[in-house]
């Protein structure tokens, strides 16, 4: 195994979360898709070890088409069971990172080999059953006892009702599954109708009646108490050429254990990957929060100071503006000092909210707050900001601080696109809709809330501007990370504000979306559940 440099940052997280699970390789790429650092055993996968500064696609040509030539990766990408000449099979994952892209490959050759073996076993079983069907079971049992014994199989013949009579000599494990009836025949013990074999026999009866070729398998099942050896079986239904209904019962303990081992390894790797994804996501959210926390107050402060340059300081309005600028400056200073604390607290805060009316934030008050505090920035650009709020109160399921930030991002977005002389309107009203229970789903470009009797009354806030709106091809992605509206006027923004809004609103069980505004312009809306 080769490790060219001591892992740090994301690379260290990779090292800890993934490399402990088995043979892996990783790399961290910059915005130009060049290798910044790397580690693990690249040779294990048949790949040349990369060089720091080398283009990733030169180091690993299979990335061609997977990585953009430059800039951030849009979401995570996975390539399953990639196999290079002379190397082990790899599951390869590409992660978007704040500064570039992360690449992680881990060995899945055991899973691939296992799938191959399963296929081979299936083929082998088909051959055996074809042989049984072709010869008839009577002759098969006489001449091929050894084969059946080798395969750890017990063979039964079923009647119309699914009663299964044992054929030939049974192995000791199979003897325990039969009982002798009055006619001296040994038949398979049937359970209470709810057991696995009873269930499979229903399928088998249908299969036999249909007269289908080939065989029907049950899949593996296990029985046994914790203090005794677990017994694993698989059953097979087959029709021989004389039309007899044969049930082949097989002990598959060894195969079960192998399959379990392989699946366990695959799933543990999957869990490690999920953990890693979660960590990466938290860091991304953190970055957005910091960017917007720093940017919002600063924008307001600059707008206010810009106004002060043009006016007489003695007038009361200017004193008020100056006081506002000081408050914003203080806030930024406090944030800078607490930056390290925020790193730890931010993600927790994002995942918490108030759901009880007594302590939940009031959306109406939050709207008024934005009108008051964003007013100077609007005034500076010559855009009017107004609010139309239906009678409250408006307690909503949300976190007060994050709700302010959501509104600030939406209003700031409107300000950015609204032409001088136009008006941005915040419209808070009630809408009836069924709660969205599945996660996600907030990317729709239009909203048509159902209004049946069971629907719940939610709060809907529309932020309406008279800007150029969102390009149709961007409308479904506008709440994605790093996506801008596709307008020439959007330069200078990093495209994280709406992504933050979506994450926060979804965390509270709400929804957000975009639709074109009647008469031209944009309507960005959020819907929040009422707190009770």
């Amino acid at each position: 195994m080769s490790d060219e440099s001591a892992p740090e940052g994301f690379a260290q997280a990779l090292w800890q979360a993934a490399l402990g699970e088995g043979l892996s390789a990783w790399a961290e790429l910059d915005a130009d898709q060049r290798v910044v650092r790397f580690g693990g055993d690249w040779g294990h996968f048949g790949w040349e070890h990369p060089q720091v500064g080398q283009a990733a696609m030169d180091a690993l040509p299979l990335l061609l088409g997977e990585l953009p030539a430059r800039g951030p990766l849009q979401g995570m990408r996975r390539m399953h069971a990639v196999q290079w000449t002379g190397g082990a099979a790899a599951d390869l994952t590409l992660f978007p990172l704040p500064q570039g892209t992360g690449l992680l490959a881990y060995d899945v050759s055991a899973q691939v080999a296992h799938q191959g073996r399963m296929q081979q076993e299936g083929n082998q079983l088909s051959l055996v059953t074809a042989r049984l069907a072709g010869k008839g079971l009577g002759s098969a049992l006489n001449s091929e006892d050894d084969l059946l014994s080798l395969l750890k199989m017990a063979v039964f013949e079923a009647d119309e009702e699914g009663r299964c009579r044992a054929l030939g000599t049974l192995a000791p494990w199979a003897e325990a599954l039969v009982e002798e009836n009055a006619a001296g025949e040994r038949t398979l013990v049937r359970g209470d109708g709810l057991g696995f074999l009873d269930n499979f026999l229903e399928d088998a009866l249908e299969f036999w009646r249909a007269g289908a070729a080939g065989h029907l398998t049950s899949g593996v099942w296990c029985e046994g108490q914790p203090d005794e050896e677990e017994r694993c079986y698989e059953a097979l239904a087959v029709l021989d050429e004389q039309g007899r209904r044969n049930l082949v019962l097989e002990r598959v303990d060894a195969r079960f254990q192998e399959r379990q081992r392989v699946l366990q390894r695959a799933r543990q790797a999957h869990l490690s990957l999920e953990t890693l994804e979660g960590e990466v996501h938290k860091k991304e959210v953190l970055l957005q929060c910091i960017v917007h926390d720093l940017r919002g107050p600063l924008s307001n402060m600059m707008a206010v100071l810009s106004l002060l340059d043009e006016r007489d300081m003695e007038r009361p309005k200017e004193k008020e503006l100056l006081a506002l600028a000081r408050r914003q400056a203080d806030k930024q200073d406090r944030m800078m000092r607490e930056l390290l604390d925020i790193f730890a607290a931010e993600v927790r805060a994002l995942q918490s909210f108030e759901a009880h009316a007594a302590s939940a934030p009031d959306l109406g008050a939050a709207v008024e707050y934005q009108v008051q505090h964003m007013g100077p920035a609007f005034e500076e650009k010559g855009v009017r900001l107004s609010a139309r709020v239906e009678p409250g109160p408006w307690p909503v399921v949300a976190d007060a601080d994050r709700l302010d930030r959501v509104l600030r991002n939406l209003v700031g977005n409107a300000l950015h696109h609204a032409p001088a002389g136009s008006e941005v309107e915040l419209w808070l009203h009630r809408t009836r809709r069924k709660p969205e229970v599945a996660p996600g789903g907030s990317r729709q470009s239009s909203s048509s809330a159902p209004s049946d009797a069971t629907a719940e009354e939610w709060a809907e806030l529309s932020v309406l501007d008279r800007g150029p709106g969102v390009a149709p091809d961007k409308a479904t992605q506008i709440f994605d990370r790093f996506v801008q509206s596709g307008l020439a006027t959007s330069g200078g923004t990093v495209g994280l504000g709406l992504y933050f809004c979506r994450n926060a609103v979804q965390t509270w069980g709400g929804r957000c979306g975009y639709r074109d505004r009647e008469g031209g312009g944009a309507d960005f809306w959020i819907q929040l559940r009422p707190a009770r």
């Binding site: 209470d192 709810l194 799933r267 759901a355 229970v437």
Partner: protein
């Protein structure tokens, strides 16, 4: 005696097998052991002065390596649909499996369990949010580790539903 088939369904590593072990054998192990195929257990419970024999089908977790055969669900009186409180994506699997199960057994009872309550601090979303998102079926929080909510979950299914 009344006999009922109960299925445990959900994504992998959500704790289905641990819930069965806790309920049937009063045992718990921290060691994750993936289920291959189906594991069948039985337990006799007493409900409203009647003995009910529960035949519990612990089905392997649903993922890209294994999918649940719908024939396994036939004849079930109820299902416990298990999600992992620390992994929000397991709720999506539960929703899909719920629909599959009810298509096969329209009169059956389903109950969603958000498991791993002992890891509450690591929950993906707060408990209130889990409740809000699972408003389409009865739900409860459980911990196979501490046993919290486990007996109640199985007994609720023993009381209601029919095949």
């Amino acid at each position: 005696m009344i006999r009922k088939k109960i299925c445990l369904l959900g994504s992998f590593a959500v704790g289905k097998t641990s819930l069965v072990r806790r309920f049937v054998h009063s045992e718990f192990s921290d060691r994750y052991q993936t289920t291959v195929g189906v594991k069948v257990d039985k337990k006799l419970v007493r409900v409203e002065d009647q003995d009910v024999s529960l035949v519990i089908w612990d089905l392997h977790g649903e993922d890209r390596w294994q999918t649940v055969r719908t024939s396994y669900l036939r004849g079930a009186s109820g299902a416990l649909l298990v999600a992992d409180g620390t992994r929000l994506e397991t709720l999506e699997v539960v929703r899909g499996l719920s629909q599959t199960f009810l298509d096969m057994n329209p009169k059956a009872t389903v109950r969603v369990l958000v498991n791993k309550l002992d890891l509450l601090e690591s929950f993906a979303i707060p408990q209130e949010e889990w409740r809000a998102r699972i408003d389409w079926a009865p739900m409860a929080f459980t911990s196979a580790k501490t046993g919290e909510g486990v007996e109640e979950a199985f007994e609720a299914l023993a009381r209601g539903g029919s095949a």
